[in-house]
């Protein structure tokens, strides 16, 4: 029986803890978000743990000062508060001051089930990738979390790490390290189309792939775990092998994951029908949890499969080759 996957935050903090035990310059700041592994860190390395208050702005400014003094700093909080709440600090104190601090968020997308718009983080990719000099990484399992953490320890940089709140099943064995420099990895083969995703939605993409197979459609699935910097040229050379490209994200579509892919395609001159699947442009108040909200937004496995099938249909193909006409009037 497979062992139960560990939470990404525990994987990350455990690795930092191991390193911090040997290197007193490694510091961990949490704006009041806990983790099982953090309990041990705080107990054993109290001088290397800093609680900056529920003060995300202060946390980032202090982190910049610590980093400017030679410390390797991890800042950690719930996703919506360590991004939008302190966005200007990220821009000024880390970005413009070029401080190699790791910004670790937990519960991206709709990860905080039932919590509503204050806790959902459906804009963090759009916000963070707009900042010059930041790297944006989304792990999808234990192995990818571990290797990204090691990268932060070995080569500190201004990085934004997007962790899932629940534990996710294994995708990678020991092969993530080899894929890291590319920024993306094909995790399932297929010739008819390609689905690009990351994190929580990557797992959903794999489920969609299974459903499409039943219908005789072979979809490749790509884990695009580093959305910034995007290896545009390599990525679009790879995408050229497919007739259709689909992006799948748990973000509002404006400026997010799919936007980055579409920009890469436009910038490198790759013309393919592109279907961007993500959340609609609204706030999410409905009860029923993550699964239900996704269903409501047409992002259930069956809905996604159906939308992809329609997208592949000859009529949709014709539509995609037409000049931009609102979809409601094109039928």
């Amino acid at each position: 029986m497979a062992t139960k996957p560990r939470l990404m935050r525990d994987v990350l903090i455990q690795e930092i803890y191991t390193r911090a035990g040997k290197d007193p310059n490694v510091l961990f700041m949490s704006a009041d978000l806990g983790a099982e592994a953090l309990d041990a860190f705080r107990a054993d390395l109290p001088k290397q743990f800093i609680h900056p208050g529920i003060c995300e702005q202060n946390m980032i400014d202090v982190a910049a000062g610590l980093s400017a003094s030679g410390k390797t700093v991890f800042t950690y909080a719930m996703a919506s508060f360590i991004t939008a709440r302190c966005y200007e600090q990220l821009k000024v104190a880390l970005g413009a001051m070029r401080q190699p601090v790791a910004v670790v968020s937990v519960g991206v997308g709709l990860g905080y089930d039932d919590a509503g718009p204050t806790h959902y983080t459906t804009e963090d990719i759009a916000c963070l990738r707009a900042l010059p000099g930041v790297e944006v990484w989304t792990p999808c399992d234990e192995e990818s979390t571990l290797e990204i953490t090691r990268e932060c320890l070995d080569r500190p940089a201004f990085r934004y790490l997007r962790l899932e709140r629940p534990a996710l099943p294994k995708i990678y064995d020991s092969n993530f390290r080899a894929a890291m420099s590319a920024g993306y990895c094909e995790v399932a083969r297929g010739n008819d189309l390609v689905i690009l995703s990351s994190g929580f939605m990557l797992h959903r993409a794999l489920e969609v792939r299974e459903q499409l197979r039943v219908e005789g459609i072979e979809a490749a699935v790509v884990d695009l775990f580093r959305i910034k910097p995007l290896a545009s040229r390599n990525l679009t050379t790879y995408l050229e092998h497919f007739s259709h490209v689909i992006t799948l994200e748990e973000q509002c579509l404006a400026g997010g994951f799919g936007s980055a892919v579409s920009e890469a395609m436009a910038d490198t001159g790759l013309s393919r029908p592109l279907l961007r699947l993500g959340l609609p442009d609204r706030y999410f108040f409905e009860n029923g949890g993550r699964k239900h909200v996704l269903e409501n937004c047409g992002l259930g496995v069956s809905s996604i499969s159906q939308r992809i099938t329609e997208f592949l249909s000859p009529m949709a193909r014709r539509r995609s080759s037409m000049p931009s006409v609102p979809s409601q009037t094109s039928f």
């Binding site: 003060c55 202060n58 202090v62 910049a64 003094s69 600090q89 001051m97």
Partner: protein, 294 residues
Amino acid sequence: MPRKASTESQSSRDARSGVPDIELLLEKSHWLRRELFQMVSTTRKGHIPSCYSCNELLVSLFYGGVLRYRKGQPEDSSRDRIIVSKGHAAMALYPILADIGYIPTQELTEFTKKDALLRMYADPSIPGVDAISGSLGHGLGIAAGMAFAARSDGRSQRAFVILGDSECYEGSVWESAFFASHQGLDNLVAIVDRNGLAIMGRTEELMRLGSLEEKFRSFGWEAVTVDGHSHSAILGALGRLGQTGGKPLALIANTVKGKGISYMEGRSEWHNKMPDAAQTAQAWKDLETNCISS
């Protein structure tokens, strides 16, 4: 207008007696005001009144034996940190940085010119500048991080921040004030340039700041109010550094925005206004005499 030659740059605190050389500080104050007016009047960029309210604060820190630094060695990581968090006045550092050999003196005439080193708002790409400025409310937190790092390394380095009083409207200032006090950062000094003016008028009329001394004290700081244009008062208060019983130190420096140019003093409309020819002549006339006497 001709530049007055700067006096020999040195710490004015006599090594043997520990007594600050007030005459030298007065001279430096006068010199800095003239240097800054020269920069602003030739390039027509910058914020003179904001610089003039913290003129004596910077002169006391750099020439009053407070900041520990080595001339000509900005890269020395052990030197004390100084952040002018009210970024519109960070340019007041530039003549001093030239005077202590951190940047070439000729850069002063290039202030804000195409591709030149010295920008309107300072940032660490300029030797001797320890943090970026221009957005209010960052400097105290960054300095707190530096003070924390120094203490955790067992280094004697201190971090000084000059805040605008209107900057204290920013909530992040108080987040960091909480933090510094809780962490017992007695190697951190916040100096509030209490000139009483924001861009749109008087702070007490726009949104009352009240007693910043009481506010910092209630956050667990050692806090004292001083005449921010008196070197002896500033240095006297900074003498408490290291004797605060583990508390960070806040100086509320009562100042006059535009101090030294008659028509700018206490007038918020001069925040970023440029004098015309007649006003420029009047300013040079005003600057012929030193407005500081203690």
